[in-house]
């Protein structure tokens, strides 16, 4: 069966050039980057090159990059690290209602330990109100953690302004940039962020490798204890091949980001326009917001997103709805609820996320299968008929 993949926000394939760069570090140059001998030194050199490549992608200095196992570890490290270094439970953290679980669930864990957390709401376009952010800051606020781009909507938060607010109030600022790194330009200096999480497999590096940017001079406690790797800050023998892959992917992203973004945005807009034309009553979620160029999230009223997802998968089109729970079943999206969608509309929403390898033929395929699938679902949907009758 012809399979078309429009779920690049979930994960991306490893770029062939990335895989090529990694391969020598499995068997030929297998050294431990912490070893003193030549074999180890070669691994060390590869790791340090990768550190420079990752730093270059976000305008950081190499020594400000710590390699981790991915976005979740980076978020845990940043948030727990800042709060614990600041003395823990009587402190206050500010975040938003649309964060990824890797941030939300860390905040909930902090709350159980007594730390206060404020969840700043977003408007119907998925943007936080800066006024509200200023209002909730307190003398004991030690961290603002706000994602750069949202995984479900693609909405981008105004990090410059948030960074400025944080700096004025002398509060550390962390951003989860897992969905923006490699898709839109990031400059940690311009954005005034102190900590930034990124994940390799979202931009054509393998799964299981990520990084945390920590601005020089930031006080945070380490998450893991062990050997002296990464200056003792993130112990554990370095995943050399993964790190090399992350570096190579960062380098490719830095060079091709502008072209990729332009090309992918055109395809995304064509998909969006085509679906709006072909599917009656469809709407785009957070359409008016600044969004990552590859993401669009649409409501198809009267349709269960879960059934639509399965129907499309059986026809060969991969996309996504909400977040999956441990059994793999779809749960109502907290993000769509946070932008004010009633439950039935949140359930009727579907995310399409494009990537570097998406072709015009992929978009044509999606435009040929989605409208028919929606029509088929609606025919059997009691709610859609009722809605249609009520309106006529």
């Amino acid at each position: 069966m012809n399979r078309v993949y429009l779920d690049f926000n979930a994960t991306t394939p490893v770029e062939p050039a990335v895989l090529d760069a990694m391969l020598p570090y499995f068997s030929a140059d297998f050294g431990n980057a912490a070893s003193i001998h030549t074999t180890g030194q070669r691994a060390r050199a590869a790791v340090e090159t990768a550190r420079e490549q990752v730093a270059a992608l976000i305008g950081a200095r190499p020594r400000e990059i710590v390699f981790t196992s991915g976005g979740t570890e980076s978020d845990n490290h940043a948030i727990f690290g800042i709060v614990e270094a600041a003395g823990g439970h009587d402190k206050h953290v500010v975040t938003t209602t649309i964060e990824h679980e890797a941030v939300l669930n860390v905040c909930q864990a902090l709350e159980k330990r007594g730390t206060k957390v404020t969840y700043v709401p977003v408007d119907s376009h998925g943007q936080i109100a800066l006024k509200e952010l200023r209002r909730v800051l307190r003398p004991e606020t030690v961290l603002i953690t706000i994602m750069h781009a949202n995984n479900e909507l693609g909405t981008v938060q105004p990090l410059e302004e948030i960074g400025r607010i944080a700096k004025e109030a002398d509060i550390y600022f962390h951003t989860d940039a897992v969905q923006s790194a490699g898709k839109i330009p990031i400059d940690v200096t311009a954005l005034e962020v102190d900590l930034l999480s990124l994940s390799g497999h979202k931009f054509y590096a393998p799964k299981g490798i990520g990084a945390l940017y920590i601005r020089g001079g930031t006080r945070l406690r380490q998450l893991l204890y062990g050997g002296h790797h990464q200056r003792g800050f993130r112990p554990g023998t370095e995943n050399v091949a993964g790190i090399v892959g992350l570096g190579k992917a960062a380098e490719i992203a830095r060079r091709s980001l502008a072209d990729d973004a332009k090309r992918v945005a055109l395809l995304r807009d064509e998909l969006q326009r085509g679906l709006l034309e072909r599917v009656p009553q469809s709407r785009v979620n957070a359409a008016a917001a600044l969004r990552t160029p590859n993401t669009t999230n649409l409501i198809f009223p009267g349709v269960g997103g879960e059934a639509l997802l399965i129907a499309l998968d059986l026809k060969g089109l991969a996309c996504s709805t909400g977040a999956a729970c441990s059994s793999g079943a779809v749960e109502p999206s907290h993000v769509l609820t946070a932008i004010g969608l009633p439950p039935e509309e949140a359930r009727a929403s579907l995310r399409f996320s494009l990537g570097r390898h998406t072709t015009p033929a992929d978009i044509d395929f999606a435009l040929s299968v989605v409208p028919a699938a929606v029509a088929q679902l609606r025919e059997l949907s009691p709610t859609y008929r009722k809605e249609a009758t009520a309106r006529s």
Binding site: A307, E331, S381
Partner: protein, 385 residues
């Protein structure tokens, strides 16, 4: 192994209209629905597996106990089992979330019925209002013509009457037709029960023959959403979570004359005909005769008082026949393990009916169903008021 081949070709009902097109299988992760998948695939059907996520077992943590929840419906283990069967047989499989519908149409009514002094059957509600309603609809929405399940019962089209008939399973010891009386003609017309002609032993053999990873899995006997099997504890925990007021739990146990002869800890802990757990020793054997939730009373008496010859039904559904214009002679069954007894059904206005048994029946219980049979055919059924 050789047995397997004979099962698939000799004993399945001829259903030519079901031989083409995609069939969805409701997969619980147990051996029965897994065997359905193997069977339909061997018959050349394109199949897709759907496993319902019905209840979040992390809810009501006080019911969790210490160890992991194992071998219960809709636990993660069962989802993984269903998935591994689909992987083994190489067909697409999805977990679909029906937690909201399950709570609204099964769990909450279950709790409310117990609190009202009745003894509900959650499985019937789940069949009528979840499996063969939103799940069947979803199956059709994703392109499947029919939904197959692991139920032990049979469906047959009566060419003369034009109706879809529901029949008891060939294996009487496994027959589940008692739980399926609520299905409409539309629901029956789109459902397949491929195990209806097989014995449990044959189903096991089929699963072994297909090397299914669940071939030796033990059967689940408990209600799927009550992981401990202790439903009284579940009712307490759920009511607390949802803010449903529990009657001042302690109340009186009285005899027919109204004399107080003991105390109980909540009417939802009792069912009609129950002897054990009355909490006191009596000279003669005493049984629960009725439950009065308003006065928070349990009324007890001797066995002979427990026998009654009639009851009234509500929400009656006629299955293999249309609603009869006049009384009808049937065999009626008033609980799953009840021997069908000769009776006359008297249809009343709207969808109510009266059942008059030829001989008194023991412990006719409000909340259970009376299901009417004519031989193997399920004529209809209704809830006992």
């Amino acid at each position: 192994m050789s047995m397997n081949a004979s099962i698939e070709f000799d004993t399945l009902p001829e259903r030519p209209e079901a031989q083409r097109g995609l069939v969805a299988i409701a997969m619980s992760g147990g051996v029965d629905s897994s065997a359905v998948a193997a069977l339909l695939q061997q018959q050349g059907h394109a199949v897709v597996g759907l496993t319902m996520q019905l209840w979040n077992h992390r809810r009501l943590p006080e019911l969790q106990g210490d160890g992991p929840v194992q071998h219960r419906c809709c636990s993660l283990d069962d989802v993984y089992d269903a998935k591994s069967v689909a992987q083994h047989l190489n067909f697409p499989h999805y977990v679909v979330n029906f937690e909201e519908q399950f709570e609204a149409r099964v769990v909450r009514p279950f709790v409310e019925q117990y609190l009202a002094g009745r003894t509900p059957i959650a499985c019937t509600n789940c069949n009528t209002d979840v499996k063969f309603e939103p799940l069947l609809r979803m199956a059709r929405q994703i392109g499947a013509e029919r939904l197959a399940t692991g139920h032990y019962a049979r469906i047959r089209r009566n060419e003369e009457s034009g109706r879809w008939e529901l029949l008891r399973a060939r294996d009487d010891s496994k027959d589940q037709s008692y739980f399926l009386w609520g299905l409409s003609q539309e629901q029956l017309s789109r459902s397949d029960f491929p195990l209806g002609e097989l014995t449990k032993q044959e189903v096991r053999e089929l699963a072994r023959g297909a090397n299914l990873p669940v071939a030796e899995k033990p059967e689940s006997m408990e209600l799927c959403f009550v992981p401990t099997g202790n439903y009284v504890q579940f009712i307490h925990a759920y009511s607390k979570e949802r803010g449903i007021p529990l009657q001042n739990s302690s109340g009186e146990i009285v005899n027919e004359a109204g004399d107080v002869i003991g105390r109980h800890n909540g009417v939802h802990g009792f069912t009609i005909g129950q002897r054990k757990g009355l909490g006191f020793a009596a000279g003669k054997a005493l049984y629960v005769l009725s439950i009065d939730p308003e006065k928070n009373r349990v009324i007890v008496g001797e066995d002979d008082v427990l026998r009654k010859t009639n009851c009234e039904l509500e929400e009656v559904n006629w299955v293999s026949v249309e609603k009869p214009p006049a009384s009808l002679r049937v065999f009626a069954k008033i609980r799953h393990k009840h021997e069908p007894a000769p009776a006359t059904i008297e249809p009343l206005d709207s969808n109510r009916a009266r059942v008059n048994f030829d001989a008194p029946q023991r412990a006719i219980t409000p909340g259970q169903a009376a299901v009417f049979y004519d031989g193997d055919r399920v004529l209809g059924g209704g809830w006992i008021r």
